[in-house]
Amino acid sequence: MFKDLDPILHSQLRLAIVSLLISVKEAEFTFLKEKTNATAGNLSVQINKLKEAGYIDVVKQFKENYPQTICKITPVGVKAFEQYVKNLHPYLNLPSSIKK
């Protein structure tokens, strides 16, 4: 049975952001921009959507007098990502009980 994929994550840029953040402790906005090749405006909009959904934490601060945005995935985001990957399995003809 096919399950609906989480619409928050089933978007190229948002999924890319969460996939990057799942493997690191925290990342700066510039790191995410560099790895996703997204424009600053688009990236900013998608980060806000993920933040509103509670999937990521965003900390804005100053470092050496320059503004710095740090993003970090939340436990809710980790759970949503795991569920998303699990829900992908039937679409890809993979058993849902695949172990990592």
Binding site: L5, Q12, S19, L20, S23, F31, K35, L88
Partner: protein, 196 residues
Amino acid sequence: MQENEFSPEDSLQLIQSMIDKTKNSVADNSFYFLLWGWLVLAACIIQFVLKVIVQSPWHPLAWTLMIVGIIASALHGMNENKSRKVKTYIGELLDYLWLSIFLSFLLLGFIFARLGWQNCYSFYMVMYAIGSFVTGRALKFSPLVWGAIGSWFLAIVSTFTSYDINILLSGLAIILSYIIPGYLLKMKYRQMQVHV
């Protein structure tokens, strides 16, 4: 990156490619291996020359070279923190590992000053190996692991040899566990930068 509709297959590929991109995010550690490797090797050679050839009682002063390492490491670490865009779990683990090794070396210095320096090199060689082995396993970089095994082996050998020979064995251990893997690690990071 465009916001188009995309298939579950595309999703999986995207996840894989993004995770792959974070694999190279651990900072280049070769600077520290080479800095400390060369400093320790220099201190070993200077101490050996002063003690065995010149027969000076001031031979332990060769180890004051380590002050250069502490200052250079602190400055490099501060610069690295300024330019660091991402923090990884492995990077953080390695930071704590090396901090604990640094503190252990200071503590060993205190312990040997109290109890005598006769067997200090056997312990130092064990310590060199711990840092190289854990870093090598964490980064999946086998020259560090083999260097650590070499250093552990030399630590055993040092229990059969004299203090003077152990100064040289310690130099050999640092070549195996820091200097050679340090250059290979530097080469690996350079190749990764070219391919990114």
